[in-house]
């Protein structure tokens, strides 16, 4: 499916540009976006090194384990395939907590680390496991407590109450996260019913 979407976006774009006379814009966009992608990746080095370094301390001190245990009842239900006490759970919980507080740049390194651990648990193959799909579902709909960027935009444009959308955002993102987990469960159920590898 990813292959299809990826190819379709590019092909439809090029055909559309031919019909619409926007080929020049496409040309520019190709190289600008490639450059942007490298800039983003390289730019991530700083936060990745910093947070993964800090989390290594937290892991060795047993802090991650403690944090994971705090949320154990919830996390164990969400990720039944991960053995209790596995370090992946600590990173998963840290990622969720960081996301909740709007610490996007801390959440990403922890999420990547959690993914790496889940991959190891899955035997190191290049296929997404059940837990990985669940983890992504939770991350793409991420529970937000403080949408800082949006609040600052609202302030800039003179809102009478920039923070008034915190409530609606929290409710919307909580419901959609629960929904995402249910959708994920539904697809898992469909996979197992078909008798495919879960």
């Amino acid at each position: 499916m990813v292959n299809l979407i990826w190819v379709m976006m590019a092909l439809i774009g090029i055909v559309f540009a031919a019909a619409n006379g926007t080929m020049e814009e496409v040309n520019k966009a190709v190289f600008e976006s490639a450059k942007e992608a490298v800039t983003i990746s390289i730019g991530m080095i700083s936060i990745l090194v910093f947070w993964l370094g800090l989390m290594a301390i937290a892991e060795q001190a047993g802090l991650l384990h403690k944090v994971a245990r705090l949320f154990m009842p919830l996390v164990r239900r969400l990720f039944p395939e991960v053995p209790p006490g596995h370090p992946a759970l600590g990173y998963i919980v840290s990622n969720m907590v960081a996301n909740m507080f709007g610490l996007g740049n801390a959440a990403t390194p922890m999420g990547i680390k959690a993914m790496g651990q889940l991959k190891q648990l899955n035997g190191g193959g290049d296929e997404a496991s059940r837990s990985m799909v669940t983890f992504l579902a939770i991350n793409t709909s991420s529970i937000t407590l403080i949408p800082a960027t949006v609040i600052s935009i609202r302030m800039t444009y003179g809102s009478a109450s920039p923070g008034e959308i915190i409530g609606t955002t929290v409710v919307a993102s909580t419901i959609s996260t629960i929904g995402a987990v249910l959708i994920d469960r539904y697809y898992y159920w469909k996979r197992t019913r078909k008798g495919r590898k879960p």
Binding site: M1, V2, W6, A10, G13, F16, A17, E25, V26, A29, S33, A34, E36, A37, V38, I40, S41, M44, I45, V49, L52, A56, I57, Q60, A61, L63, L103, A106, I112, M115, G116, D126, E127, A128, M132, V133, F135, L136, A137, N139, T140, S141, S142, I146, P147, A148, V150, I151, R154, Y157, S159, G163, E164, G167, T168, V171, S173, I175, A180, I183
Partner: protein
């Protein structure tokens, strides 16, 4: 608001201090652990490059050609039929694909219609309550080298659609039109 701002300023330094204190108390060789753990970050960032270049170029072609806008025009009547304001549709559609484009659009909607209008509040809620699914997928799977995504993309896109619909009803319910 003052409390929220204060909290967001204190959060990260507080967390750093806490982890360092805790590590020291547990006799972890803090500096060495930091350096060892941090090394991994460099590798991850580099292995991410091809995934991100591939995805962002494809999205950029789609956007720059005008195909995305055309797609929006097709979706518009369908969404208007359900009762969603047409102005927010492009934002909902692009939120899944491109984070920077969505942020630009949110800013534009807030600037045009005012932050305290129905559209302004709805755009704010949509922007804040969901992540850029395609980007999250690319980064998380790319960083650890997972190529076969399984149902992840489907689940992510459906969750996004759900999130827009929920946002619409919550904003309607809380603030009214």
């Amino acid at each position: 608001m003052a409390i929220v701002q204060l909290l967001s300023v204190w959060l990260i330094p507080g967390l750093i201090a806490f982890i360092l204190l805790y590590g020291t108390a547990k006799k972890v060789p803090t500096y060495e652990a930091f350096v060892e753990g941090g090394k991994e970050g460099i590798e991850i960032a580099f292995s991410l490059i091809p995934y991100l270049v591939g995805m962002l170029v494809s999205v950029a072609i789609f956007r720059a050609s005008g195909a995305l806008e055309a797609l929006m025009e097709v979706i518009k009547p369908l969404v208007e039929a359900i009762g969603l304001p047409a102005e927010v549709v492009p934002l909902a559609a692009i939120r899944t694909i491109s984070g920077t484009a969505a942020l630009g659009m949110t800013t534009d909607l807030i600037a045009t219609y005012g932050p305290d209008s129905f559209i302004g509040r709805l755009a704010s809620t949509i922007q804040g309550s969901t992540e850029t699914t395609l980007y999250v997928l690319t980064v998380y799977f790319g960083a650890v080298g997972v190529k076969k995504m399984g149902d992840a993309l489907k689940v992510g896109i459906l969750a996004d659609i759900l999130s827009f619909i929920v946002s619409f009803f919550i904003v309607l319910f809380v603030f009214g039109r």
